[in-house]
Symmetry: C3
């Protein structure tokens, strides 16, 4: 597929500074882009590549200040570029509707229209698979669980009993939904297990990364709110409620019964202790450890985490210690001299 820059400018609703007849046949990252390819700059770190890129044209923000032969200015270069990826790089088609002969589907399960059930998928008793759902191979769906319409489940996902997966959800390989919450009591003569009889509710438009684990609730449900996106290796413990449109980056964990409000952003390798509330729109920097409630719209950082500015000030203050010790030494000497004076 080839487009002129004029056509592309219309697709992304941008403003072209350059040659409307220039031809674009692919998209590429700025450091690798060649003539005929369109690229973008969203992160200022990549501005330096303007000097060396072979790109035919670059999508940039409204206030981008470097010159280039063909620039298309847009509100959000990242978003505009994502629209063009879909144009130039058609995704590999999903499997067509059908049910593999090696799938094991309980008689009491209900399956909707135009679904795909791949090889070796197991659908247990009274489970429901709604219209247009796609279940790749080697997946397990437990008793009384529901998979919403147009939801895509990649290979080797395990969904325990009584879990509700909404519509347009994507669950990547190796994810586990509905495993027992980590509920145990240390007794004098051993350890007693607390039954975990709640479920998991994953609302519409959620994406769950590879090898995540979302434990079932003890009594009620563990809940992931609409539109929330989990990266890989996310641990969501029992009874956690994650709000709508949250981001949680790779290898982060949320301990039992904690609640994240809507629009929360958690960076990678963050730990959030149990029984806490994280307010709407709050952000947590990578590797932070949250041990107290977080107010809405605050940015947290550190271990244990504090409001980011405070945490950074403390970190910087440590660097003054050698200087402080030098000054103390000087003061002590001078004081000694003064004391000797008559």
């Amino acid at each position: 597929m080839t487009y002129t820059l004029a056509q592309i400018t219309r697709i992304v609703q941008g403003i072209l500074e350059g040659d409307p007849e220039a031809l674009i046949s692919d998209v590429a990252e700025i450091q690798y882009a060649q003539p005929g390819e369109l690229s973008f700059i969203a992160n200022p770190k990549y501005t330096k590549f303007v000097a060396t890129t072979g790109a035919e044209a670059i999508l940039v923000s409204k206030d981008f200040s470097r010159a280039y032969k063909n620039l298309i200015r847009v509100e959000n270069p990242n978003y505009a570029f994502s629209l063009l990826i879909a144009k130039f790089r058609p995704q590999i088609p999903f499997p067509k509707p059908g049910i593999a002969p090696s799938a094991t589907i309980a008689k009491t399960a209900k399956t909707g229209k135009d679904i795909y059930i791949g090889p070796n998928v197991i659908i247990d008793e009274n489970a429901i698979i709604e219209d247009n759902a796609i279940l790749f191979g080697n997946i397990y769906v437990g008793k009384e669980s529901t998979i919403g319409s147009a939801t895509i489940i990649y290979p080797n996902v395990s969904i325990y009993h009584r879990c509700q997966i909404g519509n347009n959800v994507r669950i990547h390989s190796g994810a586990v939904i509905g495993s027992d919450g980590y509920g145990f009591i240390r007794m004098e003569d051993g350890i007693s297990k607390i039954p975990q009889e709640g479920g998991v509710v994953i609302n519409d438009d959620v994406e769950i990364g590879a090898n995540c684990a979302i434990d079932r609730g003890t009594l009620g449900n563990t809940v992931i709110g609409k539109g929330t996106k989990l990266d890989n290796f996310i641990q969501i413990a029992h009874n956690v409620k994650v709000g709508e449109y949250c981001f949680i980056a790779a290898q982060s964990g949320v301990a039992g019964s904690t609640q994240l409000a809507n629009g929360v952003t958690i960076a990678g390798q963050v730990g959030i202790a149990g029984h806490l509330k994280v307010g709407e729109g709050a952000m947590v920097a990578a590797q932070s450890g949250i041990s107290k409630d977080v107010a809405p719209h605050t940015i947290m950082f550190g271990y244990p985490a504090q409001e980011q500015k405070k945490a950074r000030r403390e970190l910087i203050s440590i660097r003054f210690i050698p200087e402080i010790r030098e000054r103390l030494k000087t003061i002590e000497k001078e004081l000694e001299i003064l004391k000797q004076r008559k």
Copy 2:
């Protein structure tokens, strides 16, 4: 099922303060409980919900000081409540004994009585599955491995060759038992792999969370002691010995050849370096990094971890630095004035 408070008080061996005839038909968390429902308070953070809960009755500790219409005092409210969950919320039944036709069982494998082998399970040569074991679907059990009696293995678990899983063990989905230890030697011309020819021994009553990985030993076995409970995403490296009745919370890792004694408690996202000993009953706070041996019954915290009190004192001491710098400035000024004096 409905019980009177008098009946419930007998079940939990508690002391009732309230109406013995009040009827209970379900259990619920304190913040959501409605009339007819029984709840509990174990964590003081939840005491505030006494003012707003609709619970018919609350299980509390012997010394709980807030008033409520119906209280049942018990030794351990958490444990008492767990007994009632089992009464009011009967778990979904496990599959009945049987072997799915799609299972692949080697002729040399031995299978006990009343076992369940789900669809697509693979039992490799000379493996042994003991009586009453339950293996959900899509599980792999390698050559010469043993699954003990009444052990439950959830879908998509991988157990390599020569691993011994005890009785009454639970292994949640996505867990990997017996993968090669991370043993490599950097050589001048590349990297050489150290053969990993030991095994894994998981003793009775262990629970292993979703997506854990327990590597096989190099020569001897990696061992998980009786009754130990691993949360999700636990990394147990080769040759590690974990004692009996330990807790290891989510996303923690224990590096090669380290030994945990009995009754150790490790919180989430902790890292323990290799070749160390962690003493009996020791506790490690979340996100800590253990780089030295830990004495029995100590509480460790921080990165690198220290005895908790010391670590907290250090953390707090950092907050004094700005004040220290202010005081230094004042002193230096005053000193200057004194020096000017004749």
Copy 3:
């Protein structure tokens, strides 16, 4: 199999100090070794076991200074011992070539000579499995993906479409290759997904641990360089390039578009932020958080990480704060006295 110490000395190209006729029938760790068994000491922590071990002989370094009845001095005791493990502990044989009847292989897939395809393996359209590859059970290989020759893939691995796995690669159970990169844009009315249409390239001789996740690139490929060894639970985000012969220990993560040069060593639970460069031969200590580019051959430590010496100096400096405060108090008192003087 039994060898004399003379024979063993030849195998490891060492220098024997002891009885060349002594017989060795097995290898063992130094703390457990018995008569007739050969052990080794590579880590000085284990030198103390010389006093108590029952080992017939010990492999040690050229400059090992403790006396023992039979010592074999070698350049690299760890490596020499690994050669002997292979002699004394023959590994369990890999499955013989063959294709399980329960495997699902697309007609358009190409399969080489002498391959093993285990039960319930799914090979999707246009995938290629090269000669001598071994695919254990319950594996998924997506459309147009390639598995190189003599590569071993353990059970329950998921390989998405358009991933290229090289020759002599090992991928342990639960690993996910080619899941979507975590590319989303927060918009005013929700979250927009960036298509992830690149692939993954895993070069020859790589080993990937249990439950790793390597996301596909957005446009180009995520790349793991030749001979690199990943431990368990490694997160490799989209567009990351890992160089040749790198080590990445368990539970570490590399965020999007970051580049690791050749010979980098990353310890456990490390986080590396996105869009960074880590120079050749650099090392990162456990649990560190890398937020800036790392120069070649530097050692980084801490959160946020700094050059190790600097980081350690800072850590130590914190311990001086209580002393600093004491000295300040003394100075202030003395100053007061001096000020009172006439």
